[in-house]
Amino acid sequence: MVLGVSSILLFKQRTVKDLISLLIELNIKHVDLFLIPPYLSIDNIDEIASEIRDAVSDVKFTIKAPSFSENLASILREIRETTMREYIETIEIAHRVGALGVIIKPGMMFHTEKKCKDEILGVFTESIRKIADKASHYGIKLLLENYYYPYEILRRAESFTYIYELIKDYNNVGFALNIPHLLESRSSVDFLIRNCSGDVLNKIELIYLGLRPSPWENSTYIQSITHSYYEFVKIYKVVKPEYIVAASIDPTITRLLIDYLRDVL
């Protein structure tokens, strides 16, 4: 198990040097590089990864693909194709910089997609398989992350089980469990444990911790840190993921999360 931080610390005018200082201060050896163009993109990721690697010995990387509007399940072909290109490119970047895993947002089904569920899920399944094959080709882990809005394909316990059926034959494909997202979807770790089989839970290979509603939003809901932490303690009794990532744009929150996590690990 490796304890890590998300590169979203680079937001709010912080430099790579600031990030490196925090890694050294907290003795952190894993960085989850979230590709958010233009801040972190195909154009500068090699340079940033190399700068971190030079300063922090034995550092490991995972890469979170661009994950805001991206949607592998869109009714719009151009959105699906753009998303696919970004995800494939992220896998190639991961291979280039020696990252061990790539995290993607599976997709969203809005009203239209739900009305055309059979066709859309067929296209979606095909896309997931193509990406999984590409990741497998490079020996990279592909991790599917849960999100919290009602239209998200991977959201609550039942969708973990559904997606598991699509990915169970791939040794290199698993889940990235985002605890704030799980809580925000009005679910909980208890519910996940009760409703998912051991096989499904064992596919969780990375856990994100941060503030609710989402580490990927500019949240100020500081109190939610305790709730996220308690949920982490529960899941950690059941599964032992390879990576645990403290994700916040705020260094103070990151320090707090790392302190909490070190108490458990």
Binding site: P37, S74, I75, L76, R77, F110, H111, T112, E119, E217
Partner: protein
């Protein structure tokens, strides 16, 4: 003053034939306008079905139905900091403009974009990105003589609050850029009448549904808390002839909404 009533194709039961189904319902029930939401499989701007376009044109022309277009918006972001996402969003809106031209629609309603983490930290920069996208789209729309109508939005991640629309109107002075006033989206975040007063000069299209304050439930007019009688009074007072497009949960609610608005209109004329 005669009110112009219309239906969104989002009301259709069979999404694979949403446009034709809605047009037929409009004909049977004397609606004048159909707004085609271009996210149903029968009318997708990035995969145009010319046979379907011809069928829509033929039936609409025969029965005097005015067609107008609502661009796709899910997963589109004209204000994205990610250039690839911004460009595909601009392209899909341009494809929608071409489709609007083929369907003889004078107007395309669209959403401005979404505000994710980078925008939440630097909204000003996101709005500048948005303006760049809009100039590109407006020039294109001008070539097709299509009016663009940006819609106000009230969702947590939406760019489309009153302040956003006013910012765009301050920065882009072009008489081909106007507003689709979504009453229930205004009601999600504020008093719809306040939105109306601020935007009335620019309103060319109106989305109608009802809801309790702070929510967007797609109820029929009269089933929620929006003061439609007052809104109607102001539309009549200001001589705004924009079509009233029912974006409600089903066809029955569209019929009920029209009945309710007609009742208000009669009462206003009587008073």
């Amino acid at each position: 003053m005669r009110l112009l009533y219309g239906l969104s194709t989002s009301l259709a039961e069979n999404y694979k034939n949403a446009a034709i189904e809605t047009i037929k319902f409009a004909i049977e029930n004397n609606f004048q306008v159909v707004e085609i939401f271009c996210e149903t499989p029968d009318v997708l701007p990035d995969q145009p079905d010319y046979k379907k376009i011809s069928e829509i044109n033929s039936i609409a022309r025969k029965h005097g139905i005015r067609i107008q277009i609502h661009a796709p918006f899910h997963s589109l972001n004209l204000a994205s900091f990610n250039e690839r996402i911004r460009q595909v969003s601009v392209k899909i809106i341009k494809d929608t403009i071409v489709l609007a031209s083929e369907l003889n629609s004078p107007i395309v309603t669209f959403h401005l974009g979404l505000c994710f983490l980078p925008c939440q930290i630097d909204r000003k920069k996101a709005l500048k990105v948005l303006i760049r996208s809009l100039w590109d789209i407006i020039e294109f729309a001008n070539d097709y003589n299509i009016m663009l109508a940006m819609e106000n939005r009230g969702g947590k991640l939406d760019i489309g609050r009153l302040s956003d629309l006013l910012y765009v109107l301050d920065n882009i002075s072009d008489n081909k850029l106007r507003v689709t006033f979504d009453v229930v989206q205004a009601n999600v975040v504020d008093d719809p009448l306040k939105y109306y007063e601020a935007l009335k000069k620019f309103i060319r299209n109106i989305h109608v549904s009802d809801s309790p304050r702070g929510k967007s439930l797609l109820l029929a007019v009269g089933e929620g808390e929006i003061n439609y009688k007052e809104l109607l009074a102001r539309l009549i007072r200001d001589n705004i002839s924009a079509p009233l497009i029912f974006e409600v949960a089903n066809k029955e609610k569209a019929l009920k909404s029209r009945e309710e608005l007609e009742k208000h209109k009669k009462a206003l004329i009587r008073d």
